[in-house]
């Protein structure tokens, strides 16, 4: 499982935890997040997230 950081607002998506309140169940891999999904904090698109080391 990986972690991804929004390059605009710095929020972190942790695949292990998912984002239940945003409709992403725990364990949802980044590649399975819908393409039109936007960052809940800043509204940026999926492409603005980068993988970060844990």
């Amino acid at each position: 499982m990986k972690k991804w950081e929004c390059m605009v607002c710095g929020i972190i998506y942790d695949e292990t935890k998912g984002w239940p309140e945003e409709g992403l169940a725990p364990g949802t891999r980044w590649e399975d997040v819908p393409l039109d999904w936007v960052c809940p904090d800043c509204g940026e698109g999926k492409s603005d997230f980068q993988m970060i080391a844990i």
Partner: protein
């Protein structure tokens, strides 16, 4: 070819640059700001203490990194002082240097808003801080170093968030507001009370229906403190003061350049001002009589404006907005109703409340959610008409035939 010139390097200006670069790597862009330029995320300012971050830690990329990454020219500590729209030129002034003229192809105002200053008297009136950018915040953080008490003026979004952040960092916080509950402009009393009670359990003390009249220095045996006098006659002793009573769009430069302004810089469906080749977005903008000084509207405006600037005119389409208020003791989400014609309908219990702002036909114009109800955010956003009902009916405005029509309107 003359460059696209963007004035202001906050979220609006910076997002616009990134959106343009996603579509065009080479079109010349100059980004100008009267402040130092670096990438930081302004909403983080009101949670930096709980995040354990110093102001310096909030910087995500430096000016050098931005210049390279985005292939643009950045002029920092440089103010745009005049615009000659008939000649498509601006005058810039860098600190102690002599003024310079720059030609533009398109000019974008992303100049943001300024904190409103209250009329407060007293010999320590200049000790009142307001925070609307990183350097303001640096000064504020210095002023609370080794201190224990902070007084916050204003219980709106920013005031509540700072009060919350300071209390989580163990400061004793007094909050003064003219209204009767926090966030009174954006949510009804029961939700305001829930927020207030949750924060009273920490170190926050509210002073509602009151106003600050004067601030004076007082020397005592452990140094000097500030004495804040309220209209009610109450006197509060504190160590630092933060004013968060709202912001006012920066319209001076636009106004004197012949651009239509009202509360903000007035723009049409394409983010364009009344003048050719001049656009605006972000906190400085007024669209359909409305100011939307939040991150998400600026992001969506930047996405469509990037297309418009690259000769693919694109109508701005601002989806319904759900702003999370950063109060960990009582999670809160607000979709501020744009129209005042309606009434609140509240349900739920304890801290877990939902409030719908409905018009006479029962349409959902806005909402507020607290506690566990915040999980209903997506459901409510879908039902909500959004700030601009007439261009928010789910139609895509980006179809090819519309494209031509739109080009005809713009040119």
């Amino acid at each position: 070819m003359s460059p696209i010139i963007i004035v202001g390097a906050g979220h609006a200006g910076m997002t616009l640059v990134r959106q343009i670069r996603m579509k065009d790597q080479y079109i010349p862009i100059i980004l100008i700001s009267q402040d130092a330029v670096h990438h930081y995320y302004k909403p983080s300012l009101s949670k930096a203490l709980s995040l354990g971050k110093s102001p310096q830690n909030l910087i995500m990329s430096s000016m050098t990194e931005l210049t390279e990454e985005l292939n643009i020219k950045i002029l920092q500590n440089t103010k745009v002082t005049s615009v000659f729209s008939n000649k498509q030129k601006i005058i810039i002034q860098k600190m102690d240097k002599s003024p310079e003229i720059l030609p533009y192809q398109s000019l974008v105002f992303a100049v943001g808003a300024n904190a409103i200053d209250l009329n407060i008297t007293g010999d320590a009136q200049q000790k009142i801080h307001s925070v609307n950018n990183l350097s303001d915040y640096q000064h504020f953080r210095k002023s609370i170093q080794n201190k224990k008490r902070v007084l916050v003026i204003g219980a709106g979004f920013v005031g509540c968030e700072f009060a919350s952040d300071l209390s989580l960092a163990n400061f004793k916080v007094d909050v003064i507001d003219r209204g009767s509950w926090p966030l009174q402009k954006s949510l009804p009393e029961p939700l305001g009370k829930a927020i207030a009670q949750s924060m009273e359990k920490t170190t926050v003390k509210w002073h509602f229906n009151d106003q600050v009249i004067s601030v004076n220095k007082k020397t005592c045996n452990h140094g000097s403190v500030l004495e804040v006098s309220l209209q009610s006659g109450k006197v509060i002793e504190t160590d630092a003061i933060l004013s968060a009573v709202g912001i006012k769009p920066c319209i001076t430069l636009a106004e004197k350049s012949g651009i239509h302004t009202n509360k903000g810089i007035v723009v049409n469906d394409f983010s364009q001002t009344n003048l050719a080749n001049i656009y605006a977005l972000g906190d400085c903008v007024e669209y359909q009589n409305t100011l939307l000084p939040f991150i998400a509207p600026a992001t969506s405006m930047a996405k469509s404006l990037a297309n418009t600037l690259l000769a693919k005119p694109n109508i701005i389409n601002i989806p319904s907005l759900a702003v999370a208020v950063k109060i960990p003791t009582c999670p809160t989400i607000i979709c501020p109703p744009v129209s005042q014609d309606g009434h609140w309908q509240v349900s739920g219990e304890h801290m877990d409340l939902t409030a719908k702002f409905l018009d006479t036909q029962g349409n959902l114009l806005g909402f507020a959610l607290t506690g566990k109800s915040t999980t209903l955010k997506h459901e409510f956003m879908k039902k909500c008409l959004g700030p601009f009902t007439d261009n928010n009916n789910g139609l895509s405005h980006q179809t090819e035939d519309l494209h031509e029509k739109i080009t005809a309107i713009i040119v």
